[in-house]
Symmetry: C2
Subunit: 151 residues, 2 copies
């Protein structure tokens, strides 16, 4: 699957989830393969709604069994690091968060992850659409456990 | 319309918008009549997903032509005031923001409102479901233009 194909598939998943897209948003979907070249297994599709100095909101699309690999959001200056809430919209996502049991989020369920806490997640058999509400995103500063990963 | 009736109607609007609700969320919908007792004309229904020290996310439900009256979110200590992004999910909402032309948001469209800026909004003929992504909500500190309003 190419990144262009992933973008189309992700947009379709958003529309099937009942999420209306504005002009140009389909094309703005970011496809991340984390530099591993195994997008269908390890990857993430993102539609960023807003990312200011203070607040970020986005939709995450995961294909069936797709994994977002383990990472954390470290402190930056006075900022304790990114705080995230994940809310499952469609499908199921299994979240693995440092220091707690894995949890499966079904549609309507959510979990908040504190700053600087290692986490990874994986969609179930039908993929997932997950809303993320957070403080500012600085993806380039994320610290991945696997040293081969380039964000 | 009683607040209980408004809560049921708002939950139905969310479900029709394709938004899955977790157990207990229907009952947790807040109905605000701003102390005016004219809920169908001036009021707002809110489902708060998360409201931490740093981030807030909620869904707003407006009935046909319902108005959320003019207010601003003032600075609090070091905090410059609440920053909000509104994203229309269903229906149409007309946003009136101090210092700019009114704007109509259709599904998939959004607008960010800076802190401490007067604004009000009104749904169109079919009502609206609007997502709000913001810094922390402190509704009790909102400053309404109409002095009769009690939040």
């Amino acid at each position: 699957m190419t990144k262009d194909e992933a973008r189309v598939r992700a947009a379709d998943a958003l529309v099937r989830a009942g999420i209306a897209l504005a002009n140009g948003e389909r094309e703005s979907i970011e496809v991340a393969d984390f530099g591993l070249g195994r997008l269908e297994e390890v990857g993430l599709q993102l539609l960023v709604y807003v990312n200011t100095q203070r607040v970020c909101a986005k939709e995450l699309v995961l294909f069936p069994w797709q994994i977002c690999p383990e990472h954390r959001h470290p402190p930056v200056g006075d900022d304790p690091g990114k705080e995230e809430t994940f809310r499952c919209r469609t499908g199921v996502v299994e979240l693995h968060v440092e220091g707690r049991e894995p949890v499966r989020l079904f549609p309507g369920e959510q979990l908040t992850i504190p700053p600087d806490t290692r986490h990874w997640f994986q969609a179930g058999p039908d993929g997932a659409v997950v809303s993320e509400f957070s403080t500012r995103s600085r993806d380039e500063l994320d610290v991945f456990t696997d040293p081969r990963i380039v964000r």
